[in-house]
Symmetry: C2
Subunit: 393 residues, 2 copies
């Protein structure tokens, strides 16, 4: 007689990636206190919140101080003004959403994890390498996980051709974390057609959509047929520097039906039961970030990061090192030179050039031999790192 | 071939309680535009955030505007300063917690819902009437639910005597929502002993602990033996008026083991995988609310609400109407006079006295014939409602 725990947790692997990196860097710094280490492994934004967002938050804080404007419980799925701001954002790239299709949340990671709640025991299809939450949240509920290989041959953009035709929950992240590769509309259409044909569901993570510069889709709902097979999860974390401010959203189209059940009211019920809404102050911040002026400021910050990406891409081009990303994404995913493994190259960069990056092997088996650099550093630090690579590598 | 949905959702009942109330009130107001309706059904705070909290938030917003003080991703389980503030709060009533036992979250509702993730297929024990989230979140994962009756005989504080000895997940809310009744230390000790004996787990919801005036336990961990059988979920929603600001926490003791598994690292893994932390600004607000000055201000607001509760309790005493709550809780739970049913009394109060309350039947079968009034209104409105009751009931 005892309470049973969720023993699927036993199947989780401990993720030592970032703690191993920290250990190696700390040891190097302790042994070489005079050396200047530059961190290009950061997956977090570094520029502060923009002026429009800050003003909106100060105003909202003042409203919370006055009984006549104080706000208590928010609607669990978001204030009308926040939902409207998201609708307007999507309309700016040609995607029309109904207000009850937009669910405001505290971020993409929560929604990616919690979306498993509304599904039964399905098989999962996940690209390798990938953002670890897709994998871990499904291991936690005991789902059978199928990996689809991303590799240099497919430009780290795996396609459905060759995948066994079954119903899956399919995870797609575009522009991709960690590879920075982005699907074209034609490529996404293949996935949408596959999902509709097999009665699958696509969980589409568009957290990096604001970095898209070229004519790539900003939302899966820009692709014909997606409203009958896809759920989209997005966030202001990278768009507006909200990693420590926390606002995102999930789109569940009204037309999305599986096993004779509409998924939109299911997600509504899930969120209304297990979530109590995003802070009023944060929703005002989100509204501001998506306003015309606010979004222009966000784009200035993104342009700053993308100048870093350009510097990194240029030196890799000079050296003839294969990479993807860095155009529609803050991430550059490169093949380790001279046949080095991911951790071997990590050690080389740290010890010889005092540059810290992220070993691709940490994101899945197919990441072995690859390496992630990010553009979230300062211009000065990135330029110095690039100069070291130019001289030494 | 199709994706399976979580068909446990089919077993959820739609909760029409608050929408039915709104419909009836709106119809009455439309038909009687000259009548002044007073709302004593509010389950939300109405006083604004306090000065210390507001100042802390403005300061944190300014920090987010400056690159040198900007904060990106927070630790998923909370900043050290927030955890320290919670530890100090518990120490103020004699409960010592280790820092890794405190998990900062966006509120009690999220944690109550999400805690089901770490358990297997256990039987559930829930008092009736009760806060609907305990029930619904367990229906969503297909658990067998056993109800234990709260009623006038047990003072709406059901005890384990008579409960079949099996392993359960036991939900206890004290002071209780909706009844306002609070367990003594001796009563909670009986539940703790029952849980340890049966290898059960208590999920203890202490969201109203700051309202406790008498010598009742503020935390289940004030009760001997609780560290081997209980998880506590708390929130600043009612303590500090954070219903629209969103911060709470869950305590999972290091000693809590079931099925040879430590639950503390499981909850840590759940939160690290499916949650990305509470906004920096909100954590600074929470720290401020729990500071000496901040908490004194919160207690002033609580004292204001409790003056309302006293007014309501006094008139019920005068009328000889049975009730519980109103001393260690903002809620008063009364027996409908003259044998009226919950909705019958609702209609009577609305039509004859123009007072809105909440029918007890909305919180479970055992709530039939009872009624909830709350102290979250203004002094003026509460005094007028009380005067109407005094004259007419």
């Amino acid at each position: 007689m005892s309470i049973l725990v969720n023993d699927n947790y036993n199947n989780l692997e401990k993720n030592y990636l970032f703690s191993n990196i920290a250990k190696k860097v700390n040891a190097y710094v302790a042994a070489n206190p005079d050396k200047k280490v530059i961190r290009l492994g950061i997956g977090d934004v570094t520029l502060p919140l923009t002026k429009t967002v800050i003003e909106a938050m100060h105003k909202a804080v003042d409203e919370m101080a006055d009984q006549s404007t104080f706000r208590g419980y928010a609607p669990e799925t978001g204030y009308d003004f926040t939902i409207k701001a998201v609708q307007n954002h999507y309309a700016s790239f040609g995607v029309e959403l109904a207000s009850n299709e937009v669910f405001i949340s505290d971020g993409a990671k929560s929604d990616c994890g919690n979306i498993t709640d509304i599904f039964g025991d399905n098989e999962i299809l996940i690209p390798d390498p990938v953002y670890p939450v897709y994998m871990d949240s499904n291991i936690m509920c005991g789902r059978k996980i199928n990996l689809v290989d991303a590799n240099q041959e497919n430009g780290f953009l795996p396609m459905p051709a060759g995948v066994e035709k079954k119903s899956y929950i399919i995870y797609i992240c575009s522009p991709n974390n960690p590879t920075g590769a982005a699907y074209t509309t034609a490529q996404l259409k293949e996935w949408v057609d596959f999902a509709n044909e097999t009665d699958s569901i696509i969980i589409y993570d568009s957290a990096y959509e604001a970095f898209i510069k070229e004519d790539y889709p900003r939302s899966i709902f820009a692709v014909e047929g997606a409203r009958t097979c896809a759920i989209e999860i997005c966030s202001l974390s990278k768009t507006a520097g909200f990693t420590g401010t926390r606002m995102g959203w999930t789109i569940v189209p009204a037309q999305l039906v599986r096993s004779n059940t509409e998924l939109n009211p299911m997600w509504n019920r899930r969120q209304s039961t297990k979530f109590n809404g995003v802070p009023y102050i944060v929703q005002r911040a989100g509204e501001a970030a998506l306003s015309e002026q606010g979004y222009a400021e966000c784009q200035e910050n993104i342009a700053y990061y993308m100048e870093n990406a350009k510097m990194i891409a240029d030196v890799l081009d000079e050296k003839g090192i294969w990479y993807t990303g860095g155009i529609n994404s803050p991430y550059i995913w490169l093949k380790c030179p001279n046949g080095m493994g991911s951790w071997e190259f990590f050690d080389y960069l740290l010890n010889e050039l005092q540059i810290v990056g992220t070993p691709g092997a940490g994101f899945g088996k197919q990441g072995e031999g690859y390496f992630r650099l990010t553009s979230f550093g300062s211009h000065e630090a990135t330029a110095e790192a690039v100069e070291r690579i130019r001289k030494t590598l």
